[in-house]
Symmetry: none
Subunit: 132 residues, 4 copies
DNA sequence: GTGGTCTAGACCACG
DNA sequence: GTGGTCTAGACCACA
């Protein structure tokens, strides 16, 4: 389910955070559903439990998941839309950087839009697959 | 010209790299044009010269700029399109992560496409301004 | 009557302790009045009976309630004023921490006093409501 | 400067967080001033560097301090007022709990107001002492 | 030099 | 059983 690349420059805990978010978006994890325990996921991914714990803590601060004492961690049932404007501005900044990078690969506006569409298609396809 | 945020999570040298690339794309830096020397830019941006040096080295590896001993560093005159497929795949991966993040801000496909368009518009506008 | 938030950072048993104390203060629970049994309250609040048991034990240690074997648990009829000075010092320490926190929300002395007044008003109002 | 009680029930990193906030409020730490490095403070307080690091990270997320790569951590120069309403509600909840606790020590409204005043006086006094 | 990440292993409170 | 905290020690990127 979760694939970790320990030699990536992206920190392991961020990889976990990303993949949990992606799983929720795809529907592989539904609202209210229980996540694997810290220890379980640590064993599954061959990662230190503290690292998984850090990822879960990060997700909890973003209100993506909630932890219930002694029971485990669950996908938040009332996933509200975030409104942290500075975070959104940072995201747009990152997007701009990527677009500039793509330019040096010969990818201009139309191609970029196509790539975006592909990504959404990909996410949607896996979501349909999960729900069927 | 270059605005550096030393408390950003993005490394300073990467900020410099990004802004040089962006300046070229906008036309603020033309092909063949001379860049400020490491020391000059370091002073302008109040950044450690080693950091600027690292940024220039990075740009040189990507063949965006070339340094001519004793003359200085210049924007590469024959900017060819990069074909490093693994780098492109990494970029798409980052793009996917950003799209997933945007989802939690309520930004879905159509809005994302709009944001992309806005970014291109913004880059184009500044480019026109630079050439006039 | 008792509202438990299992995903709060405050332990469930402490939430129960707090709410029992608050109920007594408001008059919803009178001196000598019988409390629900551990099992009853556990079912009402959908909480593990061991957790309710721990809350009751804690309240008993503080002499807020007394348990009479075979009869049940009751609000202590002779609620005397506590004189544990170390406990009081700890409370003041917590109060100081909260005041420091409030400062970062722009809440200074006068506003803090107002908030305190509001809380007493709130408690008093609910007490009047309970006695009518 | 910082006094840590390792046997307190309050986590060490929270003690550090509290004391940094208090120091800023008192003026012992001014805006823009450099904090001790993680390693320095760890040695001063006889605490593991990771624990100090966690405290600093927490403070950074709250925008109380900023870290500048390779240079250290500094008190944020533009300390804006926080507006996280849910956090403020939680603070008021804690305040209510403390007021209920105080009741069992015979501390009612007027005494509580006095205690608050004393705390502000105490903070102010130390602040004046620091600035003189 | 700085902070950031990760691991291994331990202890604890809670339920 | 769950997650939370802490330590010790290591490695790394950045400036």
């Amino acid at each position: 389910m979760f694939k970790i690349n320990p030699s990536s420059s992206q920190p392991i805990y961020e990889q976990v955070v990303s993949q949990v978010k992606e799983s929720i978006l795809k529907g592989a994890l539904r609202e209210g559903e229980k996540l694997p325990s810290v220890r379980e996921l640590a064993e599954m991914t061959r990662v230190n439990p503290n690292t998984i714990g850090k990822a879960y803590k990060t997700l909890e601060k973003e209100r993506i998941i909630v932890t219930i004492r002694g029971r485990g961690t669950f996908v938040n049932e009332s996933l509200d839309i975030k409104t942290d404007s500075t975070a959104l501005i940072q995201l747009k900044k990152k997007l701009k950087d990527i677009i500039v990078e793509l330019h040096y690969f010969g990818v201009e506006k139309d191609d970029a839009q196509k790539i975006i569409s592909e990504i959404y298609l990909e996410l949607r396809k896996e979501a349909d697959h999960a729900s069927s």
